[in-house]
Symmetry: C2
Subunit: 151 residues, 2 copies
Amino acid sequence: MPVSEGLSIGALARRTGLAVSAIRYYEAQGLISPWRNPGGQRRYQRADIRRLSFVMIAQQFGLTLPEIREVLASLPDNRTPTPADWKQISQRLRAHLDQRIDTLLRLRDNLDGCIGCGCLSLPKCALYNPDDRAKAHGSGPRYLMGDAPEG
Amino acid sequence: MPVSEGLSIGALARRTGLAVSAIRYYEAQGLISPWRNPGGQRRYQRADIRRLSFVMIAQQFGLTLPEIREVLASLPDNRTPTPADWKQISQRLRAHLDQRIDTLLRLRDNLDGCIGCGCLSLPKCALYNPDDRAKAHGSGPRYLMGDAPEG
DNA sequence: TCTTGAGCTAAAGTTAGGTTTAGGAATTAC
DNA sequence: GTAATTCCTAAACCTAACTTTAGCTCAAGA
């Protein structure tokens, strides 16, 4: 029998498939808030399995951890989230995903145009649209993406 | 008048919108190979503007720098690339993009299903398909993505 | 010529999202 | 009761894709 109620971090790791280190990291990022048993070890609710599962899914959809934290903030504090709570949150995910798909589809259309016209690589090319650039993916030279260097 | 033919790195930076430091970094990664003038400064061909532009576009499409280097390797060494050369390369990009879009569309379908069934966050949920997870985005806990920790 | 603006290299710093390590303390299993 | 797990924290390390800094050299203009 456990020394107190709740899941240990190792148990939660086994249930979610996450590494223990990742769970502790998510806590540091404010995504999950366990309590401590008398010995100082973390204890989790069973609902936290869902919470972490959601984190993993949201990551696949391209949300950053701060974004996920914000989304999770809409879950109730005072009670265990219900399926309806999760459903509402999933719909926000869906909106995010739709936007990513749109961006990629627009990129593809532009690329098709460019293949036809031979303009690929010209700075005036539609592919250079900075909005698309900023949203399509996380990487690329920083200052092109709106982070002007000083001086 | 310049001390030798070709574009200086600053001129290339202005033409492409890239930072000088980024251009030097791309060289270190094998994406571009300038020659040196008698004073040891880098000199570029005008065709290198296109080359770097292509790098930026390919990044938007989610290719890593090593992947871009590989794609660029199919350009001719002995002559300036023609529009036909670029067109061929663009088609490889298009295939990559199609795959990304497919993955996201499948994720969206699964999410729709999950919103309906309320299963979101259950490990058996279709959203946990590891193939999709590995391909949808670069981030997420490493060892879930096939990089098992030792011991 | 002399000064300032580019360029050079090497090395360190940055961000996101974690993992690994070191050195202890708490639990569990026998 | 003791050995083997598990857990704790803090700090260092990791990758990708760059940027910044330091100290120096080159090039261009008045």
